[in-house]
Amino acid sequence: MNKIKQIAPVKKMNWFDKIAHPGQFLIWSRYLILPLIIITITTFIIGLWYAFFNSPEDYQMGNTVRIMYIHVPTAWLSQFIYVMMAISSIGSLVWRHPLADVAMKVAAPLGATFTAMALFTGALWGRPTWGTYWEWDGRMTSTLILLLMYLGLIALWRSFDDQLRAAKLVAIITLVGVINIPIIKFSVDWWNTLHQPSIISSKGISMPPEIYTPLFIMLFAFTMLFILLQTNAMRTEIIRRKADRLMRKKINKNSGAKNNV
């Protein structure tokens, strides 16, 4: 005799599942919000103070170097958020974890916004430094592509009625995207060197510690800001789903009552 079995995964609740259950998340993340707000605001104040008043001008770029303190953190977030989404995608596909779905969904608009900010500040940094707002330089082009990918993912989320089903499908394309990003980066670099010699000469900025310090504080501040927004957005999404479920239940109940009469 041969046996074929299709068994539902027996859900053993380990500590991680307990913490990561949406309802549980809603409870414990409540206590996270206030500390996060405090940390974010203080680091921003310190970082901005450093950025404006306690860091030197660059000998080449002058005061414009201060744009770096918002450009680099947003550029970092644009990539960090995509990687986070990709990790959530794995969680969603492999462990079918509802919290991963939620994290993935709410991260996309945040990622798109930070990527747009990175492009915006990059353009404003580029104009006084290199004399142009936009250059088809490898890094800028691939960031633009990243923005397009974010927007595509948001559009995909929006076009599904059933968000639970959408999660897995979005996860697939997110993962295909994350595998593809190095190839895109590589191809853009190739294309860039092919078509025009790089006019950017001031790439290798030697960074003195006076510039490091505000940069790292700002990096931390922006990351905290993202975590704060992400946590709150996840809470919003979980509550929204709860409300949706309640509403659906109600509709079913009402239609059932009619049938009985």
Binding site: M1, N2, Q6, A8, R245
Partner: protein, 221 residues
């Protein structure tokens, strides 16, 4: 030799779709030569149950277990590979509402494709079409068929490859009295050959041997 039978067992199956509990605690066991009728109102999850047995849906808890005989050899020519043997989905027929018929192809082309895909023998295509009463339309385009005839054509898919488990979703919809009889006869023959069938239906299906039929009444949760 120990005489063991094929069995399909479903234990404590429960299913959630779009965050809503559809089925819970479904239990049944079918031995070879037995059929199960799924009954219940619209929306109680008849189709979902069939689809979860077919492996389309990811069940939330419980298990679906199928014991097959080792000596159930496939038709000569192709052996089952390891990989296929592990999957229930490769060993069953599912006939749902969607008929999977391409209107531009002829009846024979339509059926031949499924026959090849399922690893059946090509001569069975003719036989199947005769069996469902479409023999004289064999080289017509499927677009010319009426609703009932289309249904018959999709039922013919059951006959072009040997599969021990049949899952039928409303097999007699759009069919006339003769069609009902045909469905009943097909199921009878399948059960005689040691098969197992699960049928979701509103109508009665008159089998020769009533003992072979179990009924499962599904209720809304």
């Amino acid at each position: 030799m120990q005489q063991q039978q094929q069995q399909l067992r479903v234990n404590n199956l429960s299913l959630e779709r779009s965050g809503r509990q559809i089925l819970s605690d479904i239990n049944f066991a079918l031995k070879e030569g037995e059929a199960l009728l799924l009954r219940g109102d619209n929306g109680v999850g008849k189709t979902s149950l069939l689809m979860s047995i077919a492996g389309y849906l990811h069940i939330n808890s419980g298990e679906i277990e199928w014991e097959i005989k080792r000596d159930t050899k496939r038709e000569e020519g192709e052996e089952w590979g390891e990989e296929e043997e592990n999957l229930l989905i490769k060993n069953l027929h599912f006939i749902g509402h969607q008929q999977a018929i391409k209107p531009h192809l002829t009846l024979e082309e339509n059926l031949l494709f499924w026959c090849q895909l399922y690893g059946g023998e090509e001569k069975w295509v003719q036989e199947a079409l005769i069996r469902v009463g479409l023999a004289n339309a064999i080289s017509y385009q499927a677009a010319l068929l009426s609703a009932g005839q289309s249904k018959r054509l999709s039922l013919a898919r059951l006959l072009v490859a040997n599969r021990p488990i049949w899952l039928l979703d409303e097999p007699s919809s759009a069919l006339d009295k003769n069609g009902d009889k045909l469905v009943a006869d097909l199921i009878d023959e399948h059960l005689d050959g040691g098969g197992i069938a699960i049928i979701a239906t509103h109508l009665n299906i008159e089998l020769k041997n009533k003992k072979r039929i179990k009924t499962l009444m599904l209720k809304a949760i």
